[in-house]
Amino acid sequence: MTNSHAPLLETRQLELAYGAFKAVGGVDLRIHSGTIHTVIGPNGAGKTSLFHCLTGERRPTNGRILLDGRDITRQPAHGRVGLGMARSFQITSLFQELSVHENLRLAAQGVDGWKALNFWQRLDTRKRHIDTADEVLERLNLTERAGIPAGELSHGQQRILEVGMAICARPKLLLLDEPTSGMGIDDIPTMTRLIGELGKDHSILLIEHNMSIVMSISDTITVMNRGQVLVEGTPDSVRNDQRVREAYLGEAA
């Protein structure tokens, strides 16, 4: 374990309040390099709010977010990509009318920040982005479908592409928001395998509902409840924790 090193991503007393209601109420999270770190919790636990703070969609009302020791709390969403963070969406969010390849190429180009403002160079001279897209296509097993509009992929393939676009940026940290959400039972193993493989090259923060996936691929699990961290530990320790069971049972009751 790499716990002795500085974490890749760290939040300090992160808080997101809507009026008196604290969706995230002072969370300290430490995500270490090379791990798959999953955040789980019953509905309304604050997972999604936490995720939104990390991606930059929401500005936290208090606390700090550090990436590699650098404060990114006030960094806008698009600015975080260049610093090494990329995300996927819970509800598939693609460029529906553009080709699968163009979706990935755009994802690779986005990391370049200001260079994407180049309005004079022709696209085919930007070989690096095309190569990245080809490479990721291969990895996603979508090479044969490269030319068709993303909207015409099957639902499962769209979910795969959704995750694929996040890795085009070659990020240090991948933020995956319920990658299996809405997926058919037949497609889930493919996604699980993909995330597992990605975990070898990337650090991953995962939000996921499907417990069998969570337990099988996570290195660390953080359980949230009512906007706060309830328990954190390995899959085994979390599985047997009484407080976690109560939190989930409380939801069921």
């Binding site: 698009h78 553009l98 986005g110 403002l117 004079w120 696209l123 930007r126």
Partner: protein, 346 residues
């Protein structure tokens, strides 16, 4: 419960301005540039007057600029008249009061258009969807009433009369007089071709591909690292500068800068040309402007209510033919090609 799902699905789709047509630029790009040159050369030969041909290219320029906003970035703006009108007024005032030459006047229009578009863009991109549209509408109305109020400068309702058309000159030496309609057409044609090729280049650059991404899905584009506001402002500036240039040329063509240049109806007219021609296709803008200016010229004498047809065409484009004239043409071409290859096989 069908209605429920339909209603929910529909409300989910409503946010943002989705594309009208999918740009098919890759396949046809070299062909359309050639076709553009063909049209530009043939227009004054085929049409009864060079003035009519000039008007077509001026509006094609304005439609092309509008297309960069609407077709490529998905921004439906009623603000184009601000730039068109400002370009006309500023170049005219520059020539009348400061004796500006041709190119200085055009350059003035370009810069005024760019600066105004920067301001309008900075304000408008703070809002999305219907609020964006409403904001562009309010700003255009403000510009109109401002021009109306400042009648000492703009001539108010009467318009600005006696706008000159200076010759192409350098350091006091006159090279070409633009007094003849054909000579002026030559100038407009060259400017149009340059802008067309520039726009083609821009739309197939990383910048252009990002505009399409923004049009398709703004949230995703932002998540991929693109600074959406920056891109939108840049495309506003680009579009505003070109539109102002078109406005300046229009004033020179008419020797007159009417108040209607800066009216909401001018924005609508430019939008209609863009949409009927085909959003997302630069050549479509030429088609749209060409067919509408021509139709107006032919029909307005015999049937003053020809604008009725534009209303019908607008509805038809949305319901049946999202690609506009250009979309219709390409699908016809494709069908013909397919039929031809069938014949060969048989």
């Amino acid at each position: 419960m069908d209605t429920k799902t339909a209603a929910v699905a529909s409300s989910a789709k409503r946010n943002g301005a989705a594309p009208l047509a999918r740009p098919g630029r890759a396949r046809w790009a070299p062909g359309t540039t050639l076709a553009m040159f063909g049209v530009v050369i043939l227009l004054p030969v085929v049409l009864p007057s060079a003035t009519l041909a000039t008007e077509i290219l001026i509006f094609a320029m304005a439609a092309l600029a509008c297309n960069l906003l609407l077709g490529y970035t998905g921004l439906l703006s009623f603000g184009q008249a601000i730039f068109f009108g400002a370009g006309a007024y500023c170049s005219a005032l520059g020539m009348l009061h400061w004796q500006l030459g041709l190119f200085s006047a055009l350059l003035l229009a370009l810069s005024v258009g760019a600066v105004l578009a920067l301001l309008v863009g900075l304000l408008c991109i703070r809002r999305k969807g219907i609020y964006f549209v409403m904001l562009t509408l309010a700003l255009t109305q403000m510009a109109y009433f401002l021009a109306y109020t400042l009648s000492d400068w703009t001539g108010g309702d009467n318009g600005l009369l006696g706008v000159p058309r200076p010759p192409i000159a350098l350091g006091g030496t006159t090279f070409v007089s633009l007094a003849s309609p054909l000579a002026f057409y030559g100038l407009v044609a060259v400017l149009f071709a340059v802008i067309y090729i520039m726009a083609r280049r821009i739309t197939s650059s990383p910048f252009g591909s990002t505009l399409l991404a923004i049009r398709e899905n703004e949230a995703r584009a932002a998540a991929l690292g693109y600074d959406i506001r920056l891109f939108k402002i840049m495309v506003f500036v680009l579009s505003g500068a070109i539109t102002a240039l078109a406005g300046a040329l229009y004033a020179m063509l008419l020797n007159f800068a009417p108040l209607s240049n800066i009216e909401l109806l001018m924005s609508e007219q430019i939008l209609i040309m863009t949409i009927i021609g085909g959003t997302g296709s630069l050549f479509g803008s030429l088609l749209g402007a060409g067919s509408i200016v021509l139709l107006g010229d032919i029909l307005s004498a015999i049937w003053p209510r020809w604008m009725l047809l534009l209303g019908v065409a607008l509805i038809a484009v949305v319901i049946f033919m999202r690609g506009g004239l250009w979309g219709g043409l390409t699908s016809l071409l494709q069908r013909a090609r397919r039929a031809a290859s069938h014949d060969k096989e048989a």
